[in-house]
Amino acid sequence: MYPDNYRYTKEHEWVHVENGIGTIGITDHAQHELGDIVFVEVPKVGTHVEQGKTFAVVESVKAASEIFAPVSGEVIESNDVLTSTPELLNSDAHSAGWIAKIKLSVPEEIDRLLSPTDYQAYLGEG
C-alpha cells in the first residue's frame, strides 16, 4: 500500500525522490479521509515552494483542503490531468494522482520525513 521508496508527512503527503527531483502527492489515507475529490489546484511551474507550506489545494464535495509541500524547491512539472480528472486522486493517489514534481533545493529535508513503517505506525495511533 505505502511504497518503500517514498517518504511521508504527518499531514499525509508523500514524496518520491529520484536524481534530486521529488514527485509529490497525497497518501491513500488522505484521499480516503477526504472522500470524493472534485477539484484540484496544482502549483504553477516555476513556483518556489517551501517545506510545510501550502503548495496545492484539493477539494472534496464537502470542503477545500490545503496540501503542504513535503520538501522545498522549484516546481518543474504539474500534473495537469488532475484539472480535468480530479477523481484520479481517489483511484490512484500514489501513482497517477501525483500532483507536482519539484527540484529539491534542500535535499537533506527528506531526512525529516517519515519512512513507510513510521507513517503506517502513525496512522495506527490515530
Partner: protein
Amino acid sequence: MALLKTPLNAVHRSLGAKMVDFGGWDMPVEYRGVLDEHRAVRHGVGLFDVSHMGEIDVRGPQALDLVQYVTVNDASKLKLGQAQYSALLYGHGGFVDDILVHKVADEHYFLCVNASNQDKDYDHIVANNRFAATVENAGPRFAQLAVQGPLATGVVQKLTDINLAPIKRYHFVDGHFSGAPARIARTGYTGEDGWEIYVAPEHAVRLWNEILTAGKSVEIIPCGLGARNTLRLESAMPLYGHEIHASITPWEAGLDWIVKLDKGDFLGREALVKQKQQGITRKLAGFEVKGRGIARDGYEILANGVGSGWVTSGGPAPALNKNIGMCFLPLPLSEPGNAIEISVRGRGVEAVTIPMPFYKRAR
C-alpha cells in the same frame, strides 16, 4: 461535552461510515461516498438517519393559538394530517429556526425542528406561551428515518399496510410501520419524493435494517449528512446558520411565501411589516460559478471589485455538473443574470446569479 448519539450510532460505525460532530451530534457524513449517495437519491432511493432532528409537541385547547403566535405561516389552514413549512422568529424579525408544523389533532400540533436548535426552540416557545397549551420537548421520544428518492414510496409501502399512494406531499398519517407505531410523513430535505418516518428510538435499528432489506431490489443505500447537504443545496432549501439565522429576516431569505401577515398577530410581525414598508437592502441569491473554483460557505462576494456579500452555502451540484451556491447580495444585484466574483483563496473567480431552485425534480 460528550457528543450526542442517535440510536443508530453503532449501526453507522459497523457500516464503516465516516462520523463527524454535527452540532454536538456524532453523525454519519458518508458511507460509500457523497457522490454515490447523492446519485442514489436523485435516481433511486437512499436511507438517512435523521434522528438528531428535534421534535416539539404542542397540545391543549389553545394549541393552535400558541402555534399561530410563534410561527409565521398560517397553521389554521392545516387540515388533520397535513404539514407545513414555517419558521419561528424573534420579535425583531430574525430567525430562531425553520420548522415543519404537523396538525395531528385539533388540539395537537407536532413540530419538527433543527437538531442543534431543539432546546433553544423549546425555550422560545415556552417563554411565549401565554395560552392554554402545553409544550413538550419530545425529541427523546423519537428516532427519525428518511427514505428519499423517486423509488422511495415502493420501499416504504412494503413495510406498512397504510396505502401510501393517496398521501400527498406535505401530508402524513399515524399508523404502523413494520409493527411499530409510527408517524409517516411525505416530507423531506432532498428535493425528491420521499418519506420521513418518526418512531420510538427502541425500534430504530430494526426498522433501519428492514428498510435496507426492503429496498435491496432497487439498490437502496444508506446516505449521510454529506449527501443530505448537496441534495438540499441543489434544491435551494435553506439551512439554519447559513441562509437563515437571528440576523436574517424571511424577506431577506426569499421566504416571503411562508409569511402570512394577514393571519393575525404573531411574534416578529411588527418588525416584518416595518421592514416591508422600508424595503430590504439585501437578499438571498443563487449563483453558478463560471470560472475555475468552488465557492464555499463564508467566501466573500465581489461586485466590480468591491466586497458586496458572502456565500451562505456553496459547493458542487452533482446532478447538474456545475458548482453552485447561495449568497447574500445587495438588492439590485441579487436578481438573476448579474456577473459577480467570488473570492476563492484571494483570487476572484467569475460567477453569475441564477434563479433558484437549481434543481427541480421531474413530476
